[in-house]
């Protein structure tokens, strides 16, 4: 073991911090696009912990899971941004607290 190696727990702690920042953005921001980007940040944080545990177990299953998370996130981004486009077309606003009725 080298003297200059990093404990795996540092990676997991970084993942926790990024996830918490994503939660903060999700709860505090009012622009629907920023809220959506906070969700992507949370997904990235979870991916980091998948890859870290994959290193701990020296198996590639974690890599496959994070690959699937990436694919689902790409699909989610496409559909979510289409929903944002539709909401903006119909209501002319991106503030989430101005979009407060189910029906126009």
């Amino acid at each position: 073991m080298h003297a200059h190696s990093v404990p795996l727990t540092w990676y997991l702690t970084l993942s926790v911090i990024l996830f918490a920042l994503g939660v903060a953005g999700f709860l505090y921001r009012k622009s629907v696009i920023t809220v959506f980007m906070s969700i992507e940040l949370m997904l990235n944080a979870v991916n980091l912990s998948f890859i870290s545990f994959s290193y701990e177990l020296q198996r590639i299953d974690g890599h496959i899971y994070s690959f699937f998370v990436m694919v689902v996130a790409a699909a989610e981004a496409a559909v979510g941004l289409a929903i944002i486009l539709t909401v903006f077309k119909n209501r002319r606003t991106l503030q989430i607290d101005e979009v407060d009725s189910m029906k126009l």
Partner: protein, 166 residues
Amino acid sequence: MDTILFLIFAVVAVVCAFNLVLQTHPISSALSLIGVMASLAVLYLLLGAEFVAMAQMIVYGGAVMVLFVFVIMLLNAGSEKASTKAWFAQVAGLPLLLAFVGLLGFLIARALPDTRRVNFGSWVGGTAQEIGRALFTTYLLPFEIISVLILIAIIGAVVLAQKEIE
């Protein structure tokens, strides 16, 4: 060297994530998110995940973020207006968040007392060859299902984007 690289890119990731949450203009948040994703790709490389690091750069840093920036430009999204927040969020939000981070950090420290130490290059299991073999043998069914999911998402996005509510 490992420690220096980890610290540099971990600090970049955390600073960019803070910037994402604190900026009021969506385009600044989007650029910060690209910073987070790029530094996470470097951390994946340090953990021996070559394929996932490249996929992170191409799929996340490239495709998804281009989509975000495109939508921000298309909608001409300006800075968000300041709005009043609920008193509970103002009072308890930050302490609860810090408690969450502290609890998870404590759990990580207690539950995983002796984890491996990460040395760059000591394990290179995540090559494209290994990932490809696992995807087409063990994980063949999830792989096929997720391709159908992608197809549904494409159709859904097209249908949603041209829909007009009267």
